[in-house]
Symmetry: C2
Subunit: 304 residues, 2 copies
Protein backbone atom coordinates (compact mmCIF):
# COMPACT_ATOMS: atom_id res chain seq x y z
CA UNK A 1 0.00 0.00 0.00
CA UNK A 2 1.21 3.32 -1.14
CA UNK A 3 0.49 6.90 -0.21
CA UNK A 4 -0.11 7.58 -3.87
CA UNK A 5 -3.03 5.17 -3.66
CA UNK A 6 -4.43 6.91 -0.61
CA UNK A 7 -4.39 10.15 -2.57
CA UNK A 8 -6.15 8.52 -5.51
CA UNK A 9 -8.68 7.00 -3.18
CA UNK A 10 -9.50 10.26 -1.43
CA UNK A 11 -9.85 12.10 -4.69
CA UNK A 12 -12.19 9.47 -6.04
CA UNK A 13 -14.13 9.39 -2.80
CA UNK A 14 -14.67 13.10 -3.23
CA UNK A 15 -15.56 13.25 -6.89
CA UNK A 16 -17.17 9.82 -7.18
CA UNK A 17 -16.18 9.98 -10.80
CA UNK A 18 -13.21 8.12 -12.26
CA UNK A 19 -12.59 10.45 -15.17
CA UNK A 20 -12.62 13.59 -13.09
CA UNK A 21 -10.65 12.09 -10.24
CA UNK A 22 -8.02 10.75 -12.61
CA UNK A 23 -7.61 14.19 -14.08
CA UNK A 24 -7.19 15.74 -10.68
CA UNK A 25 -4.57 13.16 -9.89
CA UNK A 26 -2.76 13.68 -13.18
CA UNK A 27 -3.12 10.09 -14.27
CA UNK A 28 -5.28 8.34 -16.83
CA UNK A 29 -8.57 6.76 -15.93
CA UNK A 30 -7.29 3.21 -16.46
CA UNK A 31 -4.47 3.86 -14.05
CA UNK A 32 -6.82 5.17 -11.42
CA UNK A 33 -9.16 2.27 -11.94
CA UNK A 34 -6.40 -0.26 -11.51
CA UNK A 35 -4.86 1.41 -8.50
CA UNK A 36 -8.18 1.49 -6.73
CA UNK A 37 -8.77 -2.12 -7.59
CA UNK A 38 -5.37 -3.05 -6.27
CA UNK A 39 -6.04 -1.18 -3.07
CA UNK A 40 -9.31 -3.02 -2.70
CA UNK A 41 -7.61 -6.32 -3.30
CA UNK A 42 -4.94 -5.59 -0.75
CA UNK A 43 -7.57 -4.67 1.78
CA UNK A 44 -9.66 -7.66 0.87
CA UNK A 45 -12.77 -5.54 0.57
CA UNK A 46 -14.60 -3.38 -1.93
CA UNK A 47 -14.25 0.33 -1.33
CA UNK A 48 -16.59 1.55 -4.06
CA UNK A 49 -19.69 0.19 -5.67
CA UNK A 50 -19.56 1.07 -9.31
CA UNK A 51 -22.01 0.37 -12.02
CA UNK A 52 -21.71 2.17 -15.32
CA UNK A 53 -23.78 5.06 -14.08
CA UNK A 54 -22.45 5.81 -10.69
CA UNK A 55 -19.69 5.37 -8.16
CA UNK A 56 -20.58 5.12 -4.49
CA UNK A 57 -18.61 4.45 -1.35
CA UNK A 58 -19.23 1.19 0.47
CA UNK A 59 -19.44 1.09 4.23
CA UNK A 60 -15.80 0.05 4.37
CA UNK A 61 -15.03 2.74 1.86
CA UNK A 62 -16.46 5.37 4.13
CA UNK A 63 -14.40 4.07 6.99
CA UNK A 64 -11.36 4.09 4.77
CA UNK A 65 -11.80 7.80 4.07
CA UNK A 66 -11.11 8.43 7.72
CA UNK A 67 -8.28 5.96 7.77
CA UNK A 68 -6.65 7.50 4.72
CA UNK A 69 -6.97 11.04 5.97
CA UNK A 70 -5.62 10.12 9.37
CA UNK A 71 -2.73 8.22 7.83
CA UNK A 72 -1.72 11.07 5.58
CA UNK A 73 -2.07 13.56 8.40
CA UNK A 74 0.18 11.45 10.60
CA UNK A 75 2.72 11.24 7.85
CA UNK A 76 2.76 14.97 7.29
CA UNK A 77 3.03 15.50 11.00
CA UNK A 78 5.98 13.17 11.30
CA UNK A 79 7.70 14.80 8.37
CA UNK A 80 7.20 18.21 9.92
CA UNK A 81 8.55 16.95 13.20
CA UNK A 82 11.71 15.75 11.46
CA UNK A 83 12.29 19.17 9.94
CA UNK A 84 11.83 20.91 13.24
CA UNK A 85 14.23 18.73 15.12
CA UNK A 86 16.82 19.29 12.41
CA UNK A 87 16.84 23.05 12.73
CA UNK A 88 15.68 25.28 9.92
CA UNK A 89 16.97 24.50 6.45
CA UNK A 90 19.27 27.21 5.13
CA UNK A 91 20.95 27.85 1.83
CA UNK A 92 20.44 29.48 -1.52
CA UNK A 93 18.23 28.54 -4.43
CA UNK A 94 18.22 30.01 -7.89
CA UNK A 95 15.15 29.91 -10.08
CA UNK A 96 14.42 31.05 -13.61
CA UNK A 97 10.93 31.81 -14.85
CA UNK A 98 8.85 34.11 -16.95
CA UNK A 99 7.39 37.29 -15.57
CA UNK A 100 3.93 35.86 -16.01
CA UNK A 101 4.82 32.81 -13.97
CA UNK A 102 5.78 35.01 -11.04
CA UNK A 103 2.25 36.42 -11.16
CA UNK A 104 0.55 33.06 -11.37
CA UNK A 105 2.01 29.64 -10.77
CA UNK A 106 4.98 30.53 -8.68
CA UNK A 107 3.18 33.18 -6.68
CA UNK A 108 1.47 30.62 -4.48
CA UNK A 109 4.51 28.40 -4.55
CA UNK A 110 6.72 31.13 -3.14
CA UNK A 111 4.19 31.83 -0.43
CA UNK A 112 4.16 28.23 0.75
CA UNK A 113 7.90 27.82 0.34
CA UNK A 114 8.65 30.99 2.24
CA UNK A 115 6.41 29.97 5.05
CA UNK A 116 7.87 26.51 5.33
CA UNK A 117 11.52 27.40 4.77
CA UNK A 118 11.98 31.02 5.75
CA UNK A 119 15.73 30.70 6.00
CA UNK A 120 16.34 29.73 2.37
CA UNK A 121 17.45 32.62 0.22
CA UNK A 122 15.69 32.73 -3.12
CA UNK A 123 17.41 34.06 -6.22
CA UNK A 124 14.80 34.71 -8.88
CA UNK A 125 15.59 35.50 -12.51
CA UNK A 126 12.96 36.22 -15.12
CA UNK A 127 13.20 35.77 -18.85
CA UNK A 128 11.95 33.89 -21.88
CA UNK A 129 10.81 30.40 -20.87
CA UNK A 130 12.35 29.12 -24.08
CA UNK A 131 15.71 29.23 -22.32
CA UNK A 132 14.55 27.44 -19.18
CA UNK A 133 15.69 23.98 -20.08
CA UNK A 134 19.06 25.18 -21.21
CA UNK A 135 19.65 27.18 -18.05
CA UNK A 136 18.77 24.20 -15.91
CA UNK A 137 20.83 21.74 -17.91
CA UNK A 138 23.91 23.93 -17.86
CA UNK A 139 23.55 24.37 -14.12
CA UNK A 140 23.08 28.11 -14.42
CA UNK A 141 19.88 27.80 -12.41
CA UNK A 142 18.71 25.22 -9.90
CA UNK A 143 15.13 25.12 -11.08
CA UNK A 144 13.04 26.82 -13.72
CA UNK A 145 9.50 27.16 -14.94
CA UNK A 146 9.29 25.89 -18.48
CA UNK A 147 6.78 25.12 -21.15
CA UNK A 148 6.66 21.34 -21.26
CA UNK A 149 8.46 20.12 -24.37
CA UNK A 150 7.21 17.08 -26.22
CA UNK A 151 10.25 15.15 -25.06
CA UNK A 152 12.14 15.98 -21.92
CA UNK A 153 15.88 15.54 -22.09
CA UNK A 154 17.14 12.68 -19.98
CA UNK A 155 18.13 13.53 -16.45
CA UNK A 156 15.69 16.39 -16.11
CA UNK A 157 12.89 16.13 -13.57
CA UNK A 158 9.56 17.68 -14.42
CA UNK A 159 6.56 18.60 -12.33
CA UNK A 160 3.40 19.87 -14.03
CA UNK A 161 2.10 23.15 -12.64
CA UNK A 162 -0.77 23.81 -14.99
CA UNK A 163 -1.94 24.30 -18.52
CA UNK A 164 -2.82 27.24 -20.68
CA UNK A 165 -4.67 27.56 -23.97
CA UNK A 166 -2.95 29.44 -26.73
CA UNK A 167 -4.75 32.44 -28.17
CA UNK A 168 -4.11 34.55 -31.20
CA UNK A 169 -4.32 38.23 -30.59
CA UNK A 170 -4.52 41.28 -32.80
CA UNK A 171 -4.67 44.99 -32.00
CA UNK A 172 -8.03 46.65 -31.45
CA UNK A 173 -6.74 50.14 -32.12
CA UNK A 174 -7.37 51.67 -35.53
CA UNK A 175 -4.52 50.75 -37.78
CA UNK A 176 -3.98 49.15 -41.17
CA UNK A 177 -3.83 45.72 -39.57
CA UNK A 178 -7.18 45.95 -37.81
CA UNK A 179 -8.78 47.19 -41.03
CA UNK A 180 -7.36 44.23 -42.88
CA UNK A 181 -8.78 41.91 -40.24
CA UNK A 182 -12.22 43.47 -40.24
CA UNK A 183 -12.53 43.39 -44.01
CA UNK A 184 -11.41 39.78 -44.41
CA UNK A 185 -13.03 38.32 -41.32
CA UNK A 186 -13.75 34.62 -41.70
CA UNK A 187 -12.15 34.38 -45.11
CA UNK A 188 -9.37 31.86 -45.37
CA UNK A 189 -7.21 34.25 -47.34
CA UNK A 190 -6.92 36.49 -44.28
CA UNK A 191 -4.30 34.33 -42.65
CA UNK A 192 -2.02 34.52 -45.66
CA UNK A 193 -1.84 38.28 -45.37
CA UNK A 194 -1.41 38.77 -41.62
CA UNK A 195 2.00 39.79 -40.37
CA UNK A 196 3.03 37.46 -37.56
CA UNK A 197 4.99 38.21 -34.48
CA UNK A 198 6.84 34.97 -33.86
CA UNK A 199 8.68 33.73 -30.81
CA UNK A 200 12.31 33.14 -31.57
CA UNK A 201 12.68 29.76 -29.88
CA UNK A 202 10.92 27.28 -27.74
CA UNK A 203 7.84 25.18 -27.55
CA UNK A 204 5.55 28.07 -28.40
CA UNK A 205 7.32 28.49 -31.73
CA UNK A 206 6.98 24.76 -32.38
CA UNK A 207 3.27 24.89 -31.69
CA UNK A 208 2.74 27.78 -34.08
CA UNK A 209 4.84 26.13 -36.77
CA UNK A 210 2.83 22.94 -36.36
CA UNK A 211 -0.41 24.90 -36.53
CA UNK A 212 0.65 26.69 -39.71
CA UNK A 213 1.78 23.47 -41.29
CA UNK A 214 -1.55 21.84 -40.57
CA UNK A 215 -3.37 24.81 -42.07
CA UNK A 216 -1.01 24.75 -45.05
CA UNK A 217 -0.15 28.29 -44.27
CA UNK A 218 3.12 30.11 -44.77
CA UNK A 219 2.97 33.03 -42.37
CA UNK A 220 4.38 36.40 -43.18
CA UNK A 221 6.68 36.95 -40.27
CA UNK A 222 6.91 40.52 -39.16
CA UNK A 223 9.17 40.14 -36.19
CA UNK A 224 10.92 37.58 -33.99
CA UNK A 225 10.60 38.27 -30.30
CA UNK A 226 12.00 36.68 -27.19
CA UNK A 227 9.64 36.56 -24.22
CA UNK A 228 5.91 36.03 -24.25
CA UNK A 229 5.01 39.26 -22.52
CA UNK A 230 6.73 41.42 -25.10
CA UNK A 231 4.71 39.80 -27.86
CA UNK A 232 1.51 41.13 -26.33
CA UNK A 233 2.97 44.60 -26.20
CA UNK A 234 4.00 44.52 -29.85
CA UNK A 235 0.66 43.09 -30.94
CA UNK A 236 -1.26 45.75 -29.04
CA UNK A 237 0.76 48.39 -30.86
CA UNK A 238 -0.33 47.12 -34.25
CA UNK A 239 2.86 45.40 -35.36
CA UNK A 240 1.08 42.19 -36.14
CA UNK A 241 -0.79 39.24 -34.72
CA UNK A 242 0.78 37.08 -32.05
CA UNK A 243 0.12 33.74 -30.48
CA UNK A 244 0.54 33.72 -26.72
CA UNK A 245 -0.55 31.61 -23.76
CA UNK A 246 -3.89 32.81 -22.48
CA UNK A 247 -2.43 33.15 -19.03
CA UNK A 248 0.13 35.65 -20.29
CA UNK A 249 -2.60 37.66 -21.91
CA UNK A 250 -4.73 37.67 -18.77
CA UNK A 251 -1.90 39.20 -16.78
CA UNK A 252 -0.98 41.73 -19.42
CA UNK A 253 -1.59 45.44 -18.92
CA UNK A 254 -2.49 45.52 -22.63
CA UNK A 255 -5.33 43.06 -22.28
CA UNK A 256 -7.88 45.67 -23.34
CA UNK A 257 -5.92 46.76 -26.37
CA UNK A 258 -6.07 43.43 -28.15
CA UNK A 259 -8.77 41.18 -29.59
CA UNK A 260 -8.86 37.40 -30.00
CA UNK A 261 -8.80 35.82 -33.42
CA UNK A 262 -10.62 32.51 -33.54
CA UNK A 263 -8.85 29.59 -35.15
CA UNK A 264 -10.72 26.90 -37.08
CA UNK A 265 -11.13 24.16 -36.17
CA UNK A 266 -11.13 24.99 -32.50
CA UNK A 267 -8.37 23.28 -30.61
CA UNK A 268 -6.10 22.97 -33.60
CA UNK A 269 -3.70 25.08 -31.61
CA UNK A 270 -2.85 22.58 -28.92
CA UNK A 271 -2.63 24.03 -25.43
CA UNK A 272 0.68 24.14 -23.64
CA UNK A 273 1.58 22.72 -20.28
CA UNK A 274 3.71 24.65 -17.85
CA UNK A 275 5.89 22.86 -15.36
CA UNK A 276 8.79 23.06 -13.01
CA UNK A 277 12.04 21.55 -14.20
CA UNK A 278 15.28 20.75 -12.52
CA UNK A 279 18.28 18.56 -13.09
CA UNK A 280 17.48 15.19 -11.57
CA UNK A 281 20.78 15.22 -9.71
CA UNK A 282 20.04 18.57 -8.13
CA UNK A 283 17.05 17.04 -6.36
CA UNK A 284 19.48 15.42 -3.97
CA UNK A 285 20.25 18.88 -2.63
CA UNK A 286 18.01 19.40 0.40
CA UNK A 287 17.30 22.98 -0.60
CA UNK A 288 16.19 22.07 -4.09
CA UNK A 289 14.30 19.12 -2.75
CA UNK A 290 12.50 21.41 -0.31
CA UNK A 291 11.15 23.58 -3.09
CA UNK A 292 10.27 20.55 -5.16
CA UNK A 293 8.29 19.04 -2.34
CA UNK A 294 6.43 22.28 -1.77
CA UNK A 295 5.52 22.31 -5.44
CA UNK A 296 4.44 18.68 -5.35
CA UNK A 297 2.24 19.34 -2.38
CA UNK A 298 0.73 22.40 -4.02
CA UNK A 299 0.26 21.31 -7.59
CA UNK A 300 0.60 17.63 -8.02
CA UNK A 301 -1.31 15.80 -5.39
CA UNK A 302 -3.89 17.57 -3.30
CA UNK A 303 -3.67 14.66 -0.92
CA UNK A 304 -0.24 13.49 0.21
Amino acid sequence: MDHKQLGYFLTLAETLHFARASEQCHVSAPTLSRQIKQLEQELGTELFIRDNRSVRLTVNGKAFVDYAQATLAKWRQFKGQCQDSAGPLTGELSMYCSVTATYSFTYDLFAVFRKQFPAIELNLNTGDPAFSINHVQTGKEDVAVAVAPSHLPQGVAYLPLGKSKLVIIAPTMDCPLSELINSHLNTPSLWEQLPFIMPEHGVLKERIDAFCARQKLTPKVYAHVSGHEAMVALASLGFGVACVPQIVLEQSPFLNQVQHLEVEPKGSLEEIEIGLICKQKRLQDPVVSALWQCATQLFSNPYS
Copy 2:
Protein backbone atom coordinates in the same frame (compact mmCIF):
# COMPACT_ATOMS: atom_id res chain seq x y z
CA MET B 1 5.84 5.97 0.72
CA ASP B 2 5.12 2.34 0.70
CA HIS B 3 4.38 -0.26 3.35
CA LYS B 4 7.10 -2.37 1.81
CA GLN B 5 9.55 0.35 2.76
CA LEU B 6 8.28 0.42 6.31
CA GLY B 7 8.95 -3.28 6.52
CA TYR B 8 12.44 -2.84 5.16
CA PHE B 9 13.08 -0.03 7.56
CA LEU B 10 11.95 -1.97 10.61
CA THR B 11 14.01 -4.96 9.66
CA LEU B 12 17.08 -2.84 9.19
CA ALA B 13 16.41 -0.97 12.42
CA GLU B 14 16.42 -4.32 14.17
CA THR B 15 19.43 -5.92 12.55
CA LEU B 16 21.43 -2.75 11.90
CA HIS B 17 23.05 -4.66 9.09
CA PHE B 18 22.14 -4.20 5.44
CA ALA B 19 23.17 -7.63 4.26
CA ARG B 20 21.29 -9.50 6.97
CA ALA B 21 18.24 -7.28 6.77
CA SER B 22 18.08 -7.61 3.01
CA GLU B 23 18.13 -11.37 3.35
CA GLN B 24 15.33 -11.30 5.86
CA CYS B 25 13.32 -9.16 3.49
CA HIS B 26 14.05 -11.40 0.51
CA VAL B 27 15.68 -8.67 -1.51
CA SER B 28 19.25 -7.89 -2.44
CA ALA B 29 21.37 -5.50 -0.44
CA PRO B 30 21.41 -2.82 -3.15
CA THR B 31 17.64 -2.85 -3.23
CA LEU B 32 17.40 -2.40 0.49
CA SER B 33 19.99 0.33 0.43
CA ARG B 34 18.13 2.25 -2.24
CA GLN B 35 14.73 1.84 -0.65
CA ILE B 36 16.01 3.17 2.63
CA LYS B 37 17.66 6.06 0.90
CA GLN B 38 14.45 6.84 -0.94
CA LEU B 39 12.52 6.74 2.30
CA GLU B 40 15.01 9.12 3.85
CA GLN B 41 14.74 11.43 0.91
CA GLU B 42 10.96 11.43 1.04
CA LEU B 43 11.08 12.23 4.73
CA GLY B 44 13.75 14.83 4.19
CA THR B 45 15.85 13.39 6.98
CA GLU B 46 18.45 10.73 7.62
CA LEU B 47 17.15 7.66 9.38
CA PHE B 48 20.44 5.81 9.78
CA ILE B 49 24.02 6.85 10.22
CA ARG B 50 26.14 4.43 8.28
CA ASP B 51 29.82 4.27 7.86
CA ASN B 52 31.35 1.17 6.39
CA ARG B 53 31.66 -0.44 9.77
CA SER B 54 28.33 0.18 11.39
CA VAL B 55 24.73 1.19 10.99
CA ARG B 56 23.02 3.19 13.73
CA LEU B 57 19.63 4.82 14.06
CA THR B 58 19.48 8.60 14.13
CA VAL B 59 17.17 10.39 16.53
CA ASN B 60 14.60 10.71 13.78
CA GLY B 61 15.20 7.10 12.91
CA LYS B 62 14.30 6.04 16.42
CA ALA B 63 11.13 8.08 16.25
CA PHE B 64 10.35 6.54 12.89
CA VAL B 65 10.49 3.07 14.39
CA ASP B 66 7.47 3.99 16.47
CA TYR B 67 5.80 5.67 13.54
CA ALA B 68 6.32 2.68 11.29
CA GLN B 69 5.11 0.18 13.83
CA ALA B 70 2.06 2.25 14.62
CA THR B 71 1.27 2.72 10.96
CA LEU B 72 1.50 -0.96 10.16
CA ALA B 73 -0.54 -1.84 13.21
CA LYS B 74 -3.26 0.59 12.18
CA TRP B 75 -3.28 -0.90 8.72
CA ARG B 76 -3.62 -4.42 10.01
CA GLN B 77 -6.33 -3.30 12.33
CA PHE B 78 -8.26 -1.64 9.56
CA LYS B 79 -7.91 -4.67 7.36
CA GLY B 80 -9.17 -6.89 10.14
CA GLN B 81 -12.09 -4.59 10.73
CA CYS B 82 -13.06 -4.86 7.06
CA GLN B 83 -13.10 -8.64 7.27
CA ASP B 84 -15.22 -8.61 10.38
CA SER B 85 -17.83 -6.29 9.00
CA ALA B 86 -18.11 -8.43 5.90
CA GLY B 87 -19.01 -11.57 7.79
CA PRO B 88 -16.66 -14.52 7.87
CA LEU B 89 -15.22 -15.65 4.57
CA THR B 90 -16.56 -19.03 3.52
CA GLY B 91 -15.77 -21.41 0.72
CA GLU B 92 -13.53 -24.25 -0.21
CA LEU B 93 -9.83 -24.35 -0.98
CA SER B 94 -7.85 -27.23 -2.39
CA MET B 95 -4.16 -27.57 -1.78
CA TYR B 96 -1.54 -30.02 -2.90
CA CYS B 97 1.71 -30.60 -1.06
CA SER B 98 4.19 -33.17 0.07
CA VAL B 99 3.80 -35.02 3.34
CA THR B 100 6.91 -33.31 4.63
CA ALA B 101 5.48 -29.89 3.89
CA THR B 102 2.49 -30.66 6.06
CA TYR B 103 4.92 -31.24 8.91
CA SER B 104 6.92 -28.10 8.32
CA PHE B 105 6.07 -25.13 6.14
CA THR B 106 2.35 -25.54 5.92
CA TYR B 107 1.92 -26.55 9.52
CA ASP B 108 2.20 -22.99 10.77
CA LEU B 109 0.42 -21.69 7.74
CA PHE B 110 -2.61 -23.83 8.44
CA ALA B 111 -2.65 -22.71 12.04
CA VAL B 112 -2.75 -19.04 11.11
CA PHE B 113 -5.15 -19.59 8.27
CA ARG B 114 -7.51 -21.62 10.38
CA LYS B 115 -7.53 -19.03 13.09
CA GLN B 116 -8.15 -16.16 10.70
CA PHE B 117 -10.64 -17.88 8.39
CA PRO B 118 -12.25 -20.67 10.37
CA ALA B 119 -15.14 -21.01 7.95
CA ILE B 120 -13.06 -21.93 4.90
CA GLU B 121 -13.00 -25.63 4.23
CA LEU B 122 -9.57 -26.92 3.39
CA ASN B 123 -9.07 -29.81 1.02
CA LEU B 124 -5.54 -31.11 1.39
CA ASN B 125 -3.93 -33.63 -0.93
CA THR B 126 -0.43 -34.93 -0.49
CA GLY B 127 1.89 -36.30 -3.11
CA ASP B 128 5.11 -35.86 -5.02
CA PRO B 129 5.93 -32.14 -5.29
CA ALA B 130 7.10 -32.80 -8.83
CA PHE B 131 3.46 -32.72 -9.88
CA SER B 132 2.62 -29.50 -8.06
CA ILE B 133 2.99 -27.13 -10.95
CA ASN B 134 1.00 -29.34 -13.24
CA HIS B 135 -1.84 -29.72 -10.78
CA VAL B 136 -2.03 -25.98 -10.29
CA GLN B 137 -1.82 -25.18 -13.98
CA THR B 138 -4.52 -27.61 -14.93
CA GLY B 139 -6.74 -26.19 -12.23
CA LYS B 140 -6.88 -29.47 -10.37
CA GLU B 141 -5.75 -27.69 -7.23
CA ASP B 142 -6.04 -24.09 -6.15
CA VAL B 143 -2.61 -23.87 -4.60
CA ALA B 144 0.32 -26.16 -4.05
CA VAL B 145 3.67 -26.34 -2.35
CA ALA B 146 6.34 -26.83 -4.96
CA VAL B 147 10.08 -26.93 -5.32
CA ALA B 148 10.92 -23.67 -7.08
CA PRO B 149 11.81 -24.43 -10.69
CA SER B 150 14.49 -22.43 -12.46
CA HIS B 151 11.84 -20.81 -14.61
CA LEU B 152 8.27 -20.40 -13.51
CA PRO B 153 5.69 -20.79 -16.23
CA GLN B 154 3.90 -17.60 -17.09
CA GLY B 155 0.74 -16.88 -15.19
CA VAL B 156 1.81 -18.73 -12.08
CA ALA B 157 2.28 -16.79 -8.86
CA TYR B 158 5.02 -17.89 -6.51
CA LEU B 159 5.72 -17.17 -2.87
CA PRO B 160 8.94 -18.44 -1.27
CA LEU B 161 8.41 -20.40 1.94
CA GLY B 162 11.93 -21.52 2.66
CA LYS B 163 14.99 -23.35 1.50
CA SER B 164 16.48 -26.74 2.12
CA LYS B 165 19.89 -28.20 1.47
CA LEU B 166 20.07 -31.46 -0.43
CA VAL B 167 21.77 -34.37 1.27
CA ILE B 168 22.86 -37.73 0.01
CA ILE B 169 21.95 -40.59 2.23
CA ALA B 170 22.97 -44.22 2.44
CA PRO B 171 21.86 -47.02 4.75
CA THR B 172 23.68 -47.54 8.04
CA MET B 173 22.52 -51.13 8.43
CA ASP B 174 24.87 -53.91 7.52
CA CYS B 175 24.38 -54.73 3.89
CA PRO B 176 26.46 -55.03 0.74
CA LEU B 177 25.96 -51.36 0.02
CA SER B 178 27.27 -50.08 3.33
CA GLU B 179 30.29 -52.36 3.01
CA LEU B 180 30.99 -50.94 -0.40
CA ILE B 181 30.79 -47.44 0.99
CA ASN B 182 33.04 -48.15 3.93
CA SER B 183 35.68 -49.78 1.79
CA HIS B 184 35.78 -47.06 -0.84
CA LEU B 185 35.27 -44.07 1.41
CA ASN B 186 36.73 -40.93 -0.12
CA THR B 187 37.78 -42.63 -3.32
CA PRO B 188 36.38 -41.10 -6.46
CA SER B 189 35.57 -44.47 -7.92
CA LEU B 190 33.00 -45.00 -5.18
CA TRP B 191 30.39 -42.86 -6.88
CA GLU B 192 30.58 -44.86 -10.10
CA GLN B 193 29.58 -48.01 -8.29
CA LEU B 194 26.79 -46.77 -6.06
CA PRO B 195 23.26 -47.71 -7.01
CA PHE B 196 21.13 -44.57 -7.07
CA ILE B 197 17.54 -44.14 -6.11
CA MET B 198 16.39 -41.42 -8.44
CA PRO B 199 13.28 -39.26 -8.38
CA GLU B 200 11.19 -39.78 -11.45
CA HIS B 201 10.44 -36.15 -12.26
CA GLY B 202 10.84 -32.66 -11.02
CA VAL B 203 13.40 -30.17 -9.88
CA LEU B 204 15.10 -32.65 -7.57
CA LYS B 205 15.84 -34.92 -10.52
CA GLU B 206 17.21 -31.93 -12.43
CA ARG B 207 19.50 -31.03 -9.57
CA ILE B 208 20.87 -34.53 -9.32
CA ASP B 209 21.37 -34.77 -13.06
CA ALA B 210 23.20 -31.45 -13.02
CA PHE B 211 25.34 -32.61 -10.13
CA CYS B 212 26.24 -35.85 -11.87
CA ALA B 213 27.04 -34.03 -15.09
CA ARG B 214 29.36 -31.65 -13.27
CA GLN B 215 31.08 -34.59 -11.59
CA LYS B 216 31.27 -36.36 -14.95
CA LEU B 217 29.46 -39.22 -13.37
CA THR B 218 27.01 -41.64 -14.91
CA PRO B 219 25.06 -43.01 -12.00
CA LYS B 220 23.91 -46.57 -11.83
CA VAL B 221 20.22 -46.09 -11.30
CA TYR B 222 18.70 -48.69 -9.11
CA ALA B 223 15.17 -47.40 -8.95
CA HIS B 224 12.95 -44.50 -9.94
CA VAL B 225 10.69 -43.28 -7.18
CA SER B 226 7.95 -40.73 -6.96
CA GLY B 227 7.81 -38.79 -3.72
CA HIS B 228 10.70 -37.66 -1.57
CA GLU B 229 9.65 -39.48 1.57
CA ALA B 230 9.63 -42.86 -0.08
CA MET B 231 13.20 -42.39 -1.19
CA VAL B 232 14.33 -42.21 2.41
CA ALA B 233 12.53 -45.43 3.17
CA LEU B 234 14.15 -47.26 0.26
CA ALA B 235 17.57 -45.88 1.08
CA SER B 236 17.28 -46.95 4.70
CA LEU B 237 16.46 -50.45 3.56
CA GLY B 238 19.69 -50.71 1.61
CA PHE B 239 18.35 -50.37 -1.91
CA GLY B 240 20.78 -47.59 -2.75
CA VAL B 241 21.79 -44.04 -2.06
CA ALA B 242 19.33 -41.24 -2.48
CA CYS B 243 19.42 -37.49 -2.65
CA VAL B 244 16.69 -35.80 -0.66
CA PRO B 245 16.00 -32.41 0.84
CA GLN B 246 17.42 -32.21 4.33
CA ILE B 247 14.03 -31.14 5.63
CA VAL B 248 12.49 -34.39 4.38
CA LEU B 249 15.17 -36.38 6.11
CA GLU B 250 14.73 -34.52 9.37
CA GLN B 251 11.08 -35.45 9.48
CA SER B 252 11.63 -39.02 8.47
CA PRO B 253 11.06 -41.91 10.91
CA PHE B 254 14.10 -43.53 9.28
CA LEU B 255 16.45 -40.70 10.14
CA ASN B 256 18.51 -42.97 12.37
CA GLN B 257 18.81 -45.69 9.79
CA VAL B 258 20.70 -43.62 7.26
CA GLN B 259 24.04 -41.83 7.08
CA HIS B 260 25.09 -38.75 5.13
CA LEU B 261 27.53 -38.99 2.29
CA GLU B 262 29.59 -35.83 1.83
CA VAL B 263 29.86 -34.41 -1.65
CA GLU B 264 32.97 -32.62 -2.90
CA PRO B 265 33.20 -29.74 -3.36
CA LYS B 266 30.69 -28.77 -0.73
CA GLY B 267 27.75 -26.89 -2.15
CA SER B 268 28.04 -28.44 -5.58
CA LEU B 269 24.58 -29.78 -4.91
CA GLU B 270 22.67 -26.52 -5.03
CA GLU B 271 20.02 -26.21 -2.36
CA ILE B 272 16.37 -26.08 -3.37
CA GLU B 273 13.81 -23.46 -2.57
CA ILE B 274 10.30 -24.41 -1.57
CA GLY B 275 7.40 -22.12 -2.31
CA LEU B 276 3.70 -21.76 -2.64
CA ILE B 277 2.35 -21.62 -6.16
CA CYS B 278 -1.01 -20.75 -7.58
CA LYS B 279 -2.46 -19.69 -10.89
CA GLN B 280 -2.22 -15.92 -11.02
CA LYS B 281 -5.88 -15.70 -11.99
CA ARG B 282 -6.96 -17.72 -9.00
CA LEU B 283 -5.61 -15.03 -6.70
CA GLN B 284 -8.68 -12.99 -7.57
CA ASP B 285 -10.73 -15.52 -5.66
CA PRO B 286 -11.14 -14.19 -2.12
CA VAL B 287 -10.63 -17.61 -0.62
CA VAL B 288 -7.37 -18.20 -2.44
CA SER B 289 -6.31 -14.66 -1.77
CA ALA B 290 -6.98 -15.19 1.92
CA LEU B 291 -4.56 -18.10 2.11
CA TRP B 292 -2.03 -16.25 0.02
CA GLN B 293 -2.10 -13.28 2.33
CA CYS B 294 -1.70 -15.49 5.37
CA ALA B 295 1.34 -17.02 3.74
CA THR B 296 2.75 -13.62 2.81
CA GLN B 297 2.34 -12.44 6.34
CA LEU B 298 3.95 -15.55 7.73
CA PHE B 299 6.82 -16.15 5.36
CA SER B 300 7.50 -13.20 3.19
CA ASN B 301 7.55 -10.07 5.24
CA PRO B 302 7.70 -10.24 9.00
CA TYR B 303 6.53 -6.63 9.00
CA SER B 304 3.60 -5.69 6.80
